[in-house]
C-alpha cells in the first residue's frame, strides 16, 4: 500500500532516446530544454495522479507537501494510480517543473496529465467537494473495501 517515489531522470533517460545532439532553438532552450520537457512530459504521464513534492510521501520535507499528501490520503487515492516525484532529488526537475506548468511553487498536482494546482487549491477543492468529484471522474480512487473486490464484474485489465 505504500506510496512510492521514482527519480524522474532515471526514468526518463531510460525511455527517451538521445542519439545525436540536435540544435535547440536558443530562445526555447533558455527556458526549458527539450530533454527536460520530454522528461517531465513522461513524469506527468507516469500515473493518473502525479504529485511533484519536496521529500517523499513517507518523509515530506515541507509542510505544504505534507498537507497535499494527507489530502490525497483522505480522498482515498489508489496508491497504484499515484506517483510522487521528489524535486529535491533533482535540481533540473525542480526548476523545470515550475516553467513547465508556469507555476512557481511546489507541490504541484497533476491528474490525467492536467495540472490541477498547488496546496491551497487542493485544500480548497478538498473542503468544497470538488476534489472528490475530480478523483471520482478520473477513476483514481481505491476500491472502498473488500466488497468492492467481489467478483461481480469481470475485470478487463
Amino acid at each position: 500500500m505504500s506510496l512510492f517515489t521514482r527519480s524522474l531522470l532515471q526514468m526518463a533517460r531510460h525511455g527517451v532516446a538521445q542519439p545525436t545532439r540536435r540544435t535547440i532553438p536558443t530562445l526555447f532552450a533558455r527556458y526549458l530544454s527539450e530533454s527536460t520537457r520530454a522528461a517531465i512530459d513522461k513524469a506527468v504521464a507516469s500515473s493518473p495522479v502525479v504529485l511533484f513534492m519536496k521529500g517523499t510521501p513517507e518523509f515530506p520535507q515541507c509542510g505544504f507537501s505534507r498537507a497535499s499528501i494527507q489530502v490525497l490520503g483522505l480522498q482515498g487515492v489508489d496508491p497504484k494510480k499515484f506517483t510522487a516525484f521528489n524535486v529535491l532529488e533533482d535540481d533540473e526537475l525542480r526548476q523545470g517543473i515550475k516553467e513547465y506548468s508556469s507555476w512557481p511553487t511546489i507541490p504541484q498536482l497533476y491528474v490525467n496529465k492536467e495540472f490541477v494546482g498547488g496546496c491551497d487549491i487542493l485544500m480548497s477543492m478538498h473542503s468544497s467537494g470538488e476534489l472528490a468529484d475530480l478523483f471520482e471522474k478520473a477513476d483514481v480512487l481505491a476500491p472502498a473495501d473488500e466488497t468492492a473486490k467481489e467478483p461481480a464484474q469481470p475485470t478487463d485489465g
Binding site: G63, S102, P104, T105, F115, D120, I121
Partner: protein
C-alpha cells in the same frame, strides 16, 4: 524632528510586503487585502538555511471583483505573475498561501461562518 524625517525616508524594512501591497492593489483593486507574514514559522526549514530575509512566507487574503469568472488556478496564477520578480530573486518570496474570493463569494463565506458560529 529632522532625524525622524530621515528615518521615514530610509529604505523600507518590509520591501516584499510593500511590493505585494502595491502590485496587488494596482492590478486587482481589492475590496480586502490582508497580508500576513508567516516567515518566522518556516525559518527553521532546510530550504531557508542561509536566507536572512524575514519576508519569505506570506499568507494573502484577497477579495476582488477581478476574480469573477475565473477558476482558482487562474486566480493564483494572476498573483504569481504579479509577484514573478519577487519570487524569482535569491532570498525572495518562497511561498504564498492564498485565499482569493469575489465579493459575492466572501459574503457567502461570511454568512456560512455566522451560521456555524450561531
Amino acid at each position: 524632528m529632522f532625524r525622524r524625517l530621515l528615518s521615514t525616508m530610509a529604505t523600507s524594512l518590509t520591501p516584499m510586503e510593500d511590493a505585494i501591497r502595491t502590485k496587488v492593489t494596482q492590478a486587482l483593486n481589492p475590496r480586502t487585502l490582508e497580508i500576513h507574514n508567516d516567515s518566522h514559522r518556516h525559518a527553521h526549514h532546510q530550504a531557508m538555511q542561509g536566507v536572512t530575509s524575514k519576508e519569505t512566507h506570506f499568507r494573502l487574503m484577497i477579495v476582488s471583483d477581478e476574480f469573477a469568472g475565473k477558476g482558482l488556478r487562474a486566480r493564483h496564477q494572476i498573483i504569481y505573475n504579479l509577484l514573478k520578480d519577487e519570487m524569482a530573486q535569491e532570498g525572495g518570496i518562497h511561498a504564498l498561501q492564498m485565499t482569493t474570493r469575489t465579493p459575492a463569494e466572501q459574503e457567502k463565506h461570511q454568512e456560512k461562518q455566522q451560521q456555524t458560529d450561531a
